[in-house]
Amino acid sequence: MSWVTTFFTSSIGRKLIMSLTGLFLITFLIVHLIGNLQLLYNDGGQAFNVYAKFMTSNPFIKFTSYGLYAGILLHAIQGIILWRKNATSRPQRYAVASKSTSSFTSRNMGWLGMIVLIFILIHMYQFWLKMKLGDVGMATYDGKQVKDLYKLVAATYQNPLFVIFYVLSMAAIGMHLWHGFGSAFQTLGLNHKKYTPFINTLGKVYSVLIPLGFAIIPIYMFFVLNR
Protein backbone atom coordinates (compact mmCIF):
# COMPACT_ATOMS: atom_id res chain seq x y z
CA MET A 1 0.00 0.00 0.00
CA SER A 2 1.47 3.33 -0.94
CA TRP A 3 1.59 6.14 1.54
CA VAL A 4 -1.30 7.80 -0.25
CA THR A 5 -3.71 4.96 0.37
CA THR A 6 -2.31 4.37 3.84
CA PHE A 7 -2.87 7.97 4.68
CA PHE A 8 -6.31 8.35 3.20
CA THR A 9 -7.61 5.15 4.74
CA SER A 10 -6.32 6.09 8.21
CA SER A 11 -8.83 7.58 10.59
CA ILE A 12 -7.21 10.98 10.50
CA GLY A 13 -6.75 10.84 6.72
CA ARG A 14 -10.44 10.16 6.24
CA LYS A 15 -11.30 12.99 8.52
CA LEU A 16 -8.96 15.29 6.64
CA ILE A 17 -11.00 14.59 3.52
CA MET A 18 -14.16 15.44 5.46
CA SER A 19 -12.60 18.63 6.67
CA LEU A 20 -11.23 19.82 3.34
CA THR A 21 -14.30 18.95 1.29
CA GLY A 22 -16.45 20.44 4.04
CA LEU A 23 -14.58 23.72 3.94
CA PHE A 24 -14.79 23.72 0.14
CA LEU A 25 -18.55 23.22 0.32
CA ILE A 26 -18.79 25.95 2.93
CA THR A 27 -17.17 28.44 0.56
CA PHE A 28 -19.37 27.24 -2.27
CA LEU A 29 -22.43 28.06 -0.19
CA ILE A 30 -21.48 31.75 -0.13
CA VAL A 31 -21.11 31.91 -3.89
CA HIS A 32 -24.33 30.01 -4.37
CA LEU A 33 -26.21 32.29 -1.99
CA ILE A 34 -24.94 35.47 -3.62
CA GLY A 35 -26.18 34.20 -6.98
CA ASN A 36 -29.49 33.03 -5.64
CA LEU A 37 -30.22 36.28 -3.90
CA GLN A 38 -30.80 37.66 -7.41
CA LEU A 39 -34.06 35.79 -7.34
CA LEU A 40 -35.21 38.51 -5.02
CA TYR A 41 -34.76 41.27 -7.67
CA ASN A 42 -38.08 42.51 -8.80
CA ASP A 43 -37.20 42.19 -12.53
CA GLY A 44 -39.18 39.15 -13.63
CA GLY A 45 -36.11 36.99 -13.24
CA GLN A 46 -33.82 38.64 -15.75
CA ALA A 47 -30.82 39.10 -13.49
CA PHE A 48 -31.11 35.56 -12.21
CA ASN A 49 -31.52 33.99 -15.62
CA VAL A 50 -28.54 35.86 -17.05
CA TYR A 51 -26.52 34.80 -14.05
CA ALA A 52 -27.63 31.17 -14.50
CA LYS A 53 -26.63 31.30 -18.14
CA PHE A 54 -23.22 32.61 -17.21
CA MET A 55 -22.75 29.95 -14.52
CA THR A 56 -23.60 27.12 -16.87
CA SER A 57 -21.60 28.27 -19.89
CA ASN A 58 -18.39 29.79 -18.55
CA PRO A 59 -15.72 27.10 -19.03
CA PHE A 60 -13.87 27.97 -15.82
CA ILE A 61 -17.01 27.77 -13.73
CA LYS A 62 -18.00 24.62 -15.50
CA PHE A 63 -14.67 23.11 -14.58
CA THR A 64 -15.07 24.22 -10.98
CA SER A 65 -18.52 22.74 -10.86
CA TYR A 66 -17.08 19.28 -11.54
CA GLY A 67 -14.87 19.83 -8.55
CA LEU A 68 -17.98 20.72 -6.61
CA TYR A 69 -19.78 17.54 -7.61
CA ALA A 70 -16.70 15.54 -6.70
CA GLY A 71 -16.49 17.39 -3.39
CA ILE A 72 -20.10 16.64 -2.56
CA LEU A 73 -19.68 13.00 -3.52
CA LEU A 74 -16.44 12.58 -1.60
CA HIS A 75 -17.84 14.31 1.46
CA ALA A 76 -20.95 12.14 1.32
CA ILE A 77 -19.15 8.85 0.69
CA GLN A 78 -16.50 9.47 3.34
CA GLY A 79 -19.19 10.67 5.68
CA ILE A 80 -21.19 7.51 5.22
CA ILE A 81 -18.07 5.37 5.73
CA LEU A 82 -17.27 7.23 8.95
CA TRP A 83 -20.84 7.03 10.10
CA ARG A 84 -21.03 3.28 9.47
CA LYS A 85 -17.66 2.64 11.08
CA ASN A 86 -18.54 4.69 14.14
CA ALA A 87 -21.87 2.94 14.47
CA THR A 88 -20.08 -0.41 14.73
CA SER A 89 -17.52 0.80 17.23
CA ARG A 90 -20.13 0.50 19.98
CA PRO A 91 -22.39 -2.42 19.09
CA GLN A 92 -24.14 -2.38 22.45
CA ARG A 93 -25.59 1.03 23.17
CA TYR A 94 -25.99 2.54 26.62
CA ALA A 95 -29.33 2.09 28.31
CA VAL A 96 -29.07 5.59 29.71
CA ALA A 97 -27.62 7.98 27.17
CA SER A 98 -25.85 11.06 28.31
CA LYS A 99 -26.80 14.15 26.38
CA SER A 100 -25.25 16.79 28.52
CA THR A 101 -21.62 16.50 27.56
CA SER A 102 -21.79 17.02 23.81
CA SER A 103 -23.97 19.09 21.53
CA PHE A 104 -26.98 17.68 19.71
CA THR A 105 -25.54 18.66 16.35
CA SER A 106 -22.16 17.04 16.98
CA ARG A 107 -23.80 13.76 17.91
CA ASN A 108 -26.08 13.75 14.87
CA MET A 109 -23.83 14.80 12.01
CA GLY A 110 -24.58 11.53 10.22
CA TRP A 111 -28.33 11.99 10.26
CA LEU A 112 -28.11 15.67 9.44
CA GLY A 113 -25.72 14.91 6.60
CA MET A 114 -28.14 12.30 5.28
CA ILE A 115 -30.98 14.82 5.25
CA VAL A 116 -28.74 17.31 3.48
CA LEU A 117 -27.75 14.70 0.91
CA ILE A 118 -31.38 13.84 0.19
CA PHE A 119 -32.11 17.52 -0.11
CA ILE A 120 -29.25 17.98 -2.57
CA LEU A 121 -30.48 15.10 -4.72
CA ILE A 122 -34.02 16.47 -4.86
CA HIS A 123 -32.72 19.98 -5.35
CA MET A 124 -30.49 18.87 -8.23
CA TYR A 125 -33.32 16.93 -9.78
CA GLN A 126 -35.75 19.78 -9.54
CA PHE A 127 -33.57 22.47 -11.01
CA TRP A 128 -30.27 21.27 -12.35
CA LEU A 129 -31.46 18.11 -14.09
CA LYS A 130 -34.60 19.73 -15.50
CA MET A 131 -32.51 22.55 -16.83
CA LYS A 132 -29.93 20.22 -18.34
CA LEU A 133 -32.61 18.14 -19.98
CA GLY A 134 -34.06 21.29 -21.48
CA ASP A 135 -37.28 20.83 -19.66
CA VAL A 136 -37.66 24.59 -19.20
CA GLY A 137 -39.02 27.43 -21.21
CA MET A 138 -36.91 30.15 -22.75
CA ALA A 139 -36.72 33.86 -22.01
CA THR A 140 -35.29 36.51 -24.29
CA TYR A 141 -33.20 39.40 -23.00
CA ASP A 142 -31.61 41.90 -25.40
CA GLY A 143 -32.25 39.50 -28.22
CA LYS A 144 -30.50 36.59 -26.57
CA GLN A 145 -32.36 33.48 -25.58
CA VAL A 146 -31.65 31.99 -22.19
CA LYS A 147 -33.31 29.22 -20.26
CA ASP A 148 -35.97 30.63 -17.98
CA LEU A 149 -34.81 28.99 -14.80
CA TYR A 150 -36.49 31.71 -12.79
CA LYS A 151 -39.87 30.59 -13.94
CA LEU A 152 -39.13 27.04 -12.88
CA VAL A 153 -38.01 28.23 -9.46
CA ALA A 154 -41.01 30.49 -9.04
CA ALA A 155 -43.33 27.68 -10.05
CA THR A 156 -41.76 25.31 -7.58
CA TYR A 157 -42.15 27.77 -4.76
CA GLN A 158 -45.81 28.12 -5.45
CA ASN A 159 -46.17 24.79 -3.74
CA PRO A 160 -46.22 25.34 0.03
CA LEU A 161 -44.94 21.79 0.61
CA PHE A 162 -41.78 22.56 -1.30
CA VAL A 163 -41.36 25.79 0.61
CA ILE A 164 -41.59 23.91 3.87
CA PHE A 165 -39.23 21.23 2.55
CA TYR A 166 -36.66 23.83 1.55
CA VAL A 167 -36.88 25.71 4.81
CA LEU A 168 -36.52 22.53 6.87
CA SER A 169 -33.61 21.42 4.75
CA MET A 170 -31.93 24.75 5.38
CA ALA A 171 -32.41 24.16 9.08
CA ALA A 172 -30.64 20.81 8.68
CA ILE A 173 -27.81 22.46 6.78
CA GLY A 174 -27.57 25.09 9.48
CA MET A 175 -27.27 22.44 12.16
CA HIS A 176 -24.77 20.49 10.09
CA LEU A 177 -22.69 23.64 9.78
CA TRP A 178 -23.15 24.55 13.44
CA HIS A 179 -20.85 21.68 14.32
CA GLY A 180 -19.09 21.19 11.00
CA PHE A 181 -17.58 24.64 10.62
CA GLY A 182 -15.50 24.65 13.81
CA SER A 183 -14.94 20.92 13.61
CA ALA A 184 -13.24 21.25 10.22
CA PHE A 185 -10.61 23.47 11.75
CA GLN A 186 -10.07 21.12 14.71
CA THR A 187 -9.51 18.26 12.26
CA LEU A 188 -6.96 20.32 10.39
CA GLY A 189 -5.22 20.68 13.71
CA LEU A 190 -6.00 24.34 14.13
CA ASN A 191 -6.86 24.83 17.78
CA HIS A 192 -5.35 27.76 19.50
CA LYS A 193 -6.50 29.81 22.44
CA LYS A 194 -6.10 33.01 20.45
CA TYR A 195 -7.95 32.30 17.22
CA THR A 196 -10.14 29.29 17.95
CA PRO A 197 -12.81 31.26 19.81
CA PHE A 198 -13.02 33.58 16.80
CA ILE A 199 -13.36 30.67 14.37
CA ASN A 200 -16.05 29.10 16.52
CA THR A 201 -18.04 32.34 16.72
CA LEU A 202 -17.66 32.90 13.00
CA GLY A 203 -18.89 29.33 12.48
CA LYS A 204 -22.02 29.92 14.53
CA VAL A 205 -22.78 33.19 12.75
CA TYR A 206 -22.17 31.58 9.40
CA SER A 207 -24.29 28.57 10.12
CA VAL A 208 -27.23 30.81 11.02
CA LEU A 209 -26.90 33.53 8.37
CA ILE A 210 -26.21 31.45 5.26
CA PRO A 211 -29.06 28.95 5.66
CA LEU A 212 -31.29 31.83 6.70
CA GLY A 213 -30.37 33.64 3.48
CA PHE A 214 -31.28 30.57 1.45
CA ALA A 215 -34.49 30.02 3.39
CA ILE A 216 -35.68 33.56 2.81
CA ILE A 217 -35.83 32.97 -0.95
CA PRO A 218 -38.65 30.40 -1.10
CA ILE A 219 -40.54 32.16 1.68
CA TYR A 220 -40.23 35.51 -0.06
CA MET A 221 -41.17 34.10 -3.40
CA PHE A 222 -44.13 32.25 -1.94
CA PHE A 223 -45.58 35.16 -0.01
CA VAL A 224 -44.57 38.27 -1.89
CA LEU A 225 -43.80 37.73 -5.52
CA ASN A 226 -46.64 35.44 -6.33
CA ARG A 227 -49.49 37.02 -4.52
Binding site: S10, S11, I12, N86, V96, T101, S102, S106, G189, N191
Partner: protein
Protein backbone atom coordinates in the same frame (compact mmCIF):
# COMPACT_ATOMS: atom_id res chain seq x y z
CA UNK B 1 -25.90 10.64 59.02
CA UNK B 2 -29.09 9.51 57.40
CA UNK B 3 -29.61 6.32 55.46
CA UNK B 4 -30.38 6.43 51.77
CA UNK B 5 -32.50 3.76 50.16
CA UNK B 6 -31.33 3.27 46.62
CA UNK B 7 -32.47 1.16 43.72
CA UNK B 8 -29.65 -0.04 41.53
CA UNK B 9 -30.01 -1.22 37.98
CA UNK B 10 -26.72 -2.96 37.33
CA UNK B 11 -25.45 -4.58 34.15
CA UNK B 12 -24.63 -8.26 34.69
CA UNK B 13 -22.79 -10.14 31.98
CA UNK B 14 -20.94 -13.38 32.37
CA UNK B 15 -18.09 -13.07 29.90
CA UNK B 16 -17.77 -11.45 26.49
CA UNK B 17 -20.06 -13.96 24.79
CA UNK B 18 -22.92 -13.66 27.23
CA UNK B 19 -25.75 -11.41 26.12
CA UNK B 20 -25.97 -9.59 29.42
CA UNK B 21 -28.92 -8.03 31.20
CA UNK B 22 -29.80 -5.56 33.90
CA UNK B 23 -30.37 -6.79 37.43
CA UNK B 24 -32.22 -4.77 40.00
CA UNK B 25 -30.91 -4.46 43.53
CA UNK B 26 -31.81 -2.50 46.60
CA UNK B 27 -29.12 -1.14 48.84
CA UNK B 28 -29.02 1.07 51.90
CA UNK B 29 -26.18 3.55 51.73
CA UNK B 30 -25.21 6.71 53.52
CA UNK B 31 -23.92 9.98 52.24
CA UNK B 32 -20.35 9.53 53.50
CA UNK B 33 -19.71 6.43 51.45
CA UNK B 34 -17.87 6.54 48.20
CA UNK B 35 -19.71 5.08 45.25
CA UNK B 36 -17.49 1.99 45.33
CA UNK B 37 -18.08 1.55 49.05
CA UNK B 38 -21.79 1.56 48.30
CA UNK B 39 -21.11 -1.28 45.84
CA UNK B 40 -19.01 -3.02 48.52
CA UNK B 41 -22.04 -2.92 50.78
CA UNK B 42 -24.16 -4.36 47.98
CA UNK B 43 -21.65 -7.15 47.39
CA UNK B 44 -21.41 -8.04 51.07
CA UNK B 45 -25.18 -8.27 51.05
CA UNK B 46 -25.16 -10.47 47.93
CA UNK B 47 -22.43 -12.71 49.32
CA UNK B 48 -24.34 -13.13 52.57
CA UNK B 49 -27.31 -14.25 50.47
CA UNK B 50 -24.90 -16.56 48.61
CA UNK B 51 -25.66 -14.92 45.31
CA UNK B 52 -23.26 -13.67 42.71
CA UNK B 53 -21.61 -10.35 43.61
CA UNK B 54 -21.24 -7.57 41.06
CA UNK B 55 -17.78 -7.53 39.52
CA UNK B 56 -16.23 -4.13 39.05
CA UNK B 57 -12.67 -2.98 38.65
CA UNK B 58 -11.01 -0.77 41.25
CA UNK B 59 -7.70 -0.45 43.00
CA UNK B 60 -6.19 2.72 44.42
CA UNK B 61 -9.53 4.35 45.30
CA UNK B 62 -7.91 7.75 45.24
CA UNK B 63 -8.43 8.70 41.62
CA UNK B 64 -5.03 7.98 40.12
CA UNK B 65 -4.64 4.33 39.06
CA UNK B 66 -7.35 4.47 36.39
CA UNK B 67 -8.74 1.04 37.24
CA UNK B 68 -12.26 2.09 38.16
CA UNK B 69 -14.63 2.64 35.34
CA UNK B 70 -18.38 2.16 34.95
CA UNK B 71 -21.00 4.42 33.46
CA UNK B 72 -23.33 5.85 36.09
CA UNK B 73 -26.66 7.13 34.82
CA UNK B 74 -25.16 7.54 31.38
CA UNK B 75 -22.01 9.32 32.51
CA UNK B 76 -18.57 7.67 32.66
CA UNK B 77 -17.34 8.03 36.26
CA UNK B 78 -20.68 9.57 37.22
CA UNK B 79 -22.04 13.08 37.32
CA UNK B 80 -19.15 15.09 38.77
CA UNK B 81 -16.61 16.90 36.67
CA UNK B 82 -12.99 15.86 37.00
CA UNK B 83 -13.84 12.99 39.34
CA UNK B 84 -13.26 9.26 39.05
CA UNK B 85 -15.89 6.79 40.25
CA UNK B 86 -13.81 5.97 43.31
CA UNK B 87 -13.85 9.62 44.38
CA UNK B 88 -17.55 10.10 43.76
CA UNK B 89 -19.41 10.19 47.05
CA UNK B 90 -22.98 9.22 47.78
CA UNK B 91 -23.96 12.67 49.01
CA UNK B 92 -24.42 13.54 45.33
CA UNK B 93 -27.37 11.14 45.24
CA UNK B 94 -30.72 11.32 47.00
CA UNK B 95 -32.72 8.93 49.06
CA UNK B 96 -34.99 6.96 46.74
CA UNK B 97 -32.83 7.43 43.62
CA UNK B 98 -32.60 4.76 40.97
CA UNK B 99 -29.05 4.50 39.69
CA UNK B 100 -28.25 2.75 36.43
CA UNK B 101 -24.75 1.31 36.27
CA UNK B 102 -23.28 0.02 33.02
CA UNK B 103 -19.81 -0.97 31.89
CA UNK B 104 -17.72 1.23 29.59
CA UNK B 105 -19.10 0.15 26.24
CA UNK B 106 -16.96 -0.04 23.12
CA UNK B 107 -16.10 -2.63 20.55
CA UNK B 108 -12.45 -2.33 21.57
CA UNK B 109 -13.28 -2.74 25.27
CA UNK B 110 -14.96 -6.16 25.41
CA UNK B 111 -16.79 -6.92 28.63
CA UNK B 112 -15.00 -9.43 30.85
CA UNK B 113 -17.62 -9.65 33.52
CA UNK B 114 -20.41 -7.33 34.61
CA UNK B 115 -18.77 -3.90 34.82
CA UNK B 116 -15.22 -5.10 34.10
CA UNK B 117 -13.93 -4.48 30.60
CA UNK B 118 -10.70 -5.29 28.79
CA UNK B 119 -8.75 -2.11 28.15
CA UNK B 120 -5.56 -3.76 26.89
CA UNK B 121 -5.99 -1.94 23.57
CA UNK B 122 -4.57 1.09 25.39
CA UNK B 123 -1.44 -0.84 26.32
CA UNK B 124 -0.96 -1.84 22.71
CA UNK B 125 -1.28 1.77 21.56
CA UNK B 126 1.50 2.73 23.98
CA UNK B 127 3.59 -0.22 22.88
CA UNK B 128 3.29 0.99 19.30
CA UNK B 129 5.37 4.04 20.10
CA UNK B 130 4.27 5.83 23.26
CA UNK B 131 7.76 6.03 24.69
CA UNK B 132 11.15 7.64 24.25
CA UNK B 133 13.79 5.16 23.15
CA UNK B 134 16.44 5.58 25.78
CA UNK B 135 18.07 2.63 27.47
CA UNK B 136 18.84 2.75 31.16
CA UNK B 137 22.16 4.43 31.74
CA UNK B 138 22.24 6.34 28.47
CA UNK B 139 20.90 9.53 29.94
CA UNK B 140 22.86 12.74 30.18
CA UNK B 141 22.61 15.01 33.19
CA UNK B 142 19.01 15.92 33.90
CA UNK B 143 19.72 19.64 33.73
CA UNK B 144 21.61 19.44 30.44
CA UNK B 145 18.51 20.37 28.45
CA UNK B 146 16.59 23.29 29.96
CA UNK B 147 12.89 23.06 29.24
CA UNK B 148 10.69 26.11 29.44
CA UNK B 149 8.44 25.93 32.48
CA UNK B 150 5.25 26.33 30.45
CA UNK B 151 6.33 23.63 28.04
CA UNK B 152 7.00 21.28 30.93
CA UNK B 153 3.59 22.14 32.36
CA UNK B 154 1.88 21.46 29.02
CA UNK B 155 3.63 18.12 28.84
CA UNK B 156 2.53 17.40 32.39
CA UNK B 157 -1.11 18.27 31.69
CA UNK B 158 -1.17 15.76 28.86
CA UNK B 159 0.80 13.20 30.88
CA UNK B 160 -1.79 13.39 33.67
CA UNK B 161 -3.90 10.84 31.74
CA UNK B 162 -4.68 7.84 33.92
CA UNK B 163 -5.59 5.52 31.05
CA UNK B 164 -9.05 4.80 32.41
CA UNK B 165 -10.84 4.87 29.07
CA UNK B 166 -13.59 7.30 30.05
CA UNK B 167 -12.88 9.21 26.83
CA UNK B 168 -13.72 6.15 24.77
CA UNK B 169 -16.73 5.39 26.93
CA UNK B 170 -18.06 8.93 26.58
CA UNK B 171 -17.43 9.35 22.86
CA UNK B 172 -20.49 8.69 20.71
CA UNK B 173 -18.06 7.02 18.29
CA UNK B 174 -15.99 5.21 20.94
CA UNK B 175 -12.91 6.93 19.62
CA UNK B 176 -9.56 6.76 21.44
CA UNK B 177 -8.23 10.02 20.07
CA UNK B 178 -8.03 11.81 23.41
CA UNK B 179 -5.99 9.00 24.97
CA UNK B 180 -3.67 8.65 21.98
CA UNK B 181 -3.25 12.36 21.47
CA UNK B 182 -2.49 12.95 25.14
CA UNK B 183 0.47 10.58 24.99
CA UNK B 184 1.68 12.05 21.70
CA UNK B 185 1.38 15.55 23.15
CA UNK B 186 3.13 14.62 26.40
CA UNK B 187 6.19 13.29 24.61
CA UNK B 188 6.03 15.63 21.63
CA UNK B 189 6.19 18.74 23.79
CA UNK B 190 9.55 17.76 25.23
CA UNK B 191 12.83 18.09 23.37
CA UNK B 192 13.75 14.50 24.30
CA UNK B 193 10.56 13.28 22.68
CA UNK B 194 10.87 15.24 19.46
CA UNK B 195 13.48 12.91 17.95
CA UNK B 196 11.03 10.07 17.37
CA UNK B 197 7.97 12.24 17.16
CA UNK B 198 7.06 11.68 13.49
CA UNK B 199 7.36 7.93 13.67
CA UNK B 200 5.53 7.83 17.00
CA UNK B 201 2.58 9.75 15.59
CA UNK B 202 2.19 7.42 12.65
CA UNK B 203 2.67 4.20 14.58
CA UNK B 204 0.35 5.11 17.43
CA UNK B 205 -2.42 6.28 15.10
CA UNK B 206 -2.06 3.13 13.00
CA UNK B 207 -2.35 0.96 16.13
CA UNK B 208 -5.31 2.97 17.37
CA UNK B 209 -7.08 2.39 14.04
CA UNK B 210 -6.22 -1.29 14.09
CA UNK B 211 -7.80 -1.72 17.51
CA UNK B 212 -11.15 -0.80 16.03
CA UNK B 213 -11.88 2.40 17.88
CA UNK B 214 -14.29 4.76 16.15
CA UNK B 215 -13.21 7.92 14.41
CA UNK B 216 -13.19 11.24 16.18
CA UNK B 217 -15.94 13.61 15.09
CA UNK B 218 -15.03 16.40 17.49
CA UNK B 219 -18.01 16.10 19.82
CA UNK B 220 -15.68 16.82 22.77
CA UNK B 221 -17.63 14.50 25.06
CA UNK B 222 -14.22 12.99 25.92
CA UNK B 223 -12.90 16.24 27.34
CA UNK B 224 -16.09 16.81 29.30
CA UNK B 225 -15.92 13.37 30.92
CA UNK B 226 -12.16 13.01 31.36
CA UNK B 227 -11.52 12.73 35.11
CA UNK B 228 -8.17 14.46 34.56
CA UNK B 229 -9.73 17.12 32.29
CA UNK B 230 -7.34 16.53 29.42
CA UNK B 231 -7.88 19.03 26.62
CA UNK B 232 -9.06 18.31 23.08
CA UNK B 233 -6.31 20.66 21.97
CA UNK B 234 -4.17 17.55 22.10
CA UNK B 235 -6.40 15.99 19.45
CA UNK B 236 -5.97 19.02 17.20
CA UNK B 237 -2.23 18.85 17.60
CA UNK B 238 -2.22 15.13 16.82
CA UNK B 239 -4.24 15.82 13.66
CA UNK B 240 -1.82 18.55 12.68
CA UNK B 241 1.19 16.36 13.33
CA UNK B 242 -0.22 13.37 11.52
CA UNK B 243 -1.24 15.36 8.47
CA UNK B 244 2.02 17.26 8.41
CA UNK B 245 4.29 14.31 9.03
CA UNK B 246 2.87 12.04 6.42
CA UNK B 247 4.10 14.35 3.73
CA UNK B 248 7.44 14.81 5.43
CA UNK B 249 8.76 11.40 6.41
CA UNK B 250 10.32 8.86 4.01
Amino acid sequence: MSDMNLKLKVWKQNGPNDKGRFENYKVVANEHMSFLEMLDVLNEQLISEKSDPVSFEHDCREGICGACSMVINGRPHGPNKGTTTCQLHMRFFKDGDTITIEPFRANSFPVIKDLVVDRSAFDRIIQAGGYISVNTGQAQDANAIPIEKDVALDAFSAAACIGCGACVAACPNASAMLFTSAKVAHLGHLPQGKVEHDKRVQKMVAQMDEEGFGMCSNTYACEAECPKEISVKNIASLNRNFIGKVFKTE
